[in-house]
């Protein structure tokens, strides 16, 4: 009885999202880069991507590095984002239009990804993770994963938190 009721509730919500996925899906990622009391601080390089259940990369959303450095020299250290690098980064050319961006300062940062650009409109239904990886010169490296199911049943909101190089991370789709 309970089961059929919840099915009845979710189905009408889920169906329009499937059919209008491209229209509906704008992804917002909010992440905190903690203020760190360290002897040497450089803004971290950050990669944000969508990961499939088998941990492969479905879509790289953003790579934040020293984009202004001459001769594309800032890309030299993008490999410090080890996980992104070995799963996707080593096979792509940077700069990537709409993906490459400047590093961000400590504090809460917000990035919006239009559904079509982020590849959300083409994402097959299933379980995914939004992954954010931060790597800091002379500092550490940390990954935070925020699990979500696609297509979202109604409005999607999920969050997770890092320990050192990343603070709270939350995502929302509307």
């Amino acid at each position: 009885m309970k089961l059929s009721r919840s099915l009845a509730l979710t189905l009408p919500l889920a169906l329009p999202l499937v059919s209008n996925g491209a229209m509906a899906a704008d992804l917002t990622v909010k992440f905190e880069l903690p203020q760190l009391n360290v002897a040497e601080y450089h803004k971290p390089y950050v990669a944000i991507w969508i990961e499939r259940a088998d941990q492969t990369v479905a879509s790289t959303l953003a790579v934040l590095y020293d984009v202004k450095k001459k001769d594309n020299a800032g890309t030299k250290w993008v490999k410090d984002m080890r996980t992104w690098w070995r799963k996707a980064g080593r096979d792509v050319e940077l700069p990537m239009d709409g993906v490459s961006g400047a590093t961000r300062s400590a504090g809460v940062q917000t990035m919006n990804f239009a559904g079509a650009r982020a590849g959300l409109d083409k994402l097959p239904a299933g379980d995914y993770k939004l992954v954010i990886e931060a790597a800091r010169e002379a500092g550490g490296r940390e990954l935070v994963r925020v699990p979500f199911t696609w297509p979202a049943k109604g409005k999607l909101a999920a969050s997770a938190s890092g320990k050192e190089e990343l603070g709270a991370v939350s995502i929302s789709v509307q």
Binding site: K79, R82, T83, R86
Partner: protein, 276 residues
């Protein structure tokens, strides 16, 4: 007199490497990096030692004569001579091609005994010089030959498999999962074979370095399946020493019973398990 004996024993221990080293003393080769990503010349330094604490420099340098380098095309060449210092031997290797290199130290040693004029005599020698150790008139000659091999793997920029082809002789690890793409939490498959044939139900172990900082060994003991393969989830990131011996439970030292001529194999590999 006693002292001299021990000195000779120590030298013989280095020569014979793993076979007769006291249980706690492990011979190992250790690359400075397992993955070198650079747009300049790629280099790696290989250290070798026999130590009480795994990857610690606390006992003796490892004699690295005979060290070979197999390049990404599968071509094997001798490594340059190593420098031997008090606690370690070292050699710098230039990696001119992109891809994976296998660095191997292989050899064979003989331990034996014979009867001469009613006395039991024992000897240690390399496989080549063993015959010279046995004087005319010796009887009841017994010898145990130990064939040893140590491998480590290093990749310049992009992993490749040309250097990973099994030799088909002796005891060896066949890395089904690339040995420079081992990441904590992921699955890896290793195969063991003896003279090219898979070793079913064969035990091996992995020990992570840095034992002195944690107190516990954290050894991972695994056994191959009917196909000679073991698939397992890779443990915490660290440099690991993989070891195996055939026959698996042979006692150390020359055999007092059994056939007069026995052969044993020992294999070890230094492998890095990286964070995800």
């Amino acid at each position: 007199m006693q002292n001299k004996f021990f000195k000779q024993f120590a030298i013989a221990t280095i020569l014979a490497g793993m076979a007769c080293a006291a249980q706690a003393h492990k011979p190992w080769i250790l690359p400075s990096s397992t993955l070198i990503e650079t747009d300049r010349e790629a280099w790696v330094t290989i250290d070798g030692a026999v130590s009480e604490g795994l990857f610690d420099l606390d006992h003796l340098p490892l004699r690295m004569d005979g060290l070979t380098v197999t390049d990404p095309d599968g071509q094997t060449a001798p490594a340059p001579a190593a420098t031997m210092s008090k606690f370690r031997s070292s050699v710098d290797l230039k990696l001119p091609k992109n891809g994976t290199y296998r660095i191997t130290l292989a050899g064979a040693s003989v331990m034996g005994s014979y009867q001469l004029n009613g006395e039991t005599k024992r000897f240690r020698a390399s496989a080549q010089t063993a015959d010279k150790e046995i004087p005319a008139g010796a009887t009841d000659v017994r010898r145990t030959t130990t064939v040893q091999r140590q491998d480590t793997f290093v990749t310049a920029n992009k992993a490749s498999t040309g250097a990973l082809k099994p030799l088909g002789t002796g005891l060896e690890l066949v890395p089904v999962t690339h040995p420079n793409e081992l990441h904590t939490g992921e699955k890896a498959t290793f195969r063991f074979q003896l003279d090219g044939k898979p070793l079913a139900n064969f035990p091996f172990s992995l020990i992570p370095g840095g034992v002195k900082y944690r107190g516990t060994l954290n050894e991972v003991r695994l056994t191959t399946d009917a196909k000679g393969e073991a698939t397992f989830t890779l443990p915490a990131p660290n440099m690991y020493w993989l070891s195996a011996a055939y026959p698996a439970n042979a006692p150390r030292g020359p055999g007092e019973q059994g056939p007069a001529d026995t052969k044993r194999y020992s294999y070890s590999a230094t492998l890095e398990i990286l964070p995800e």
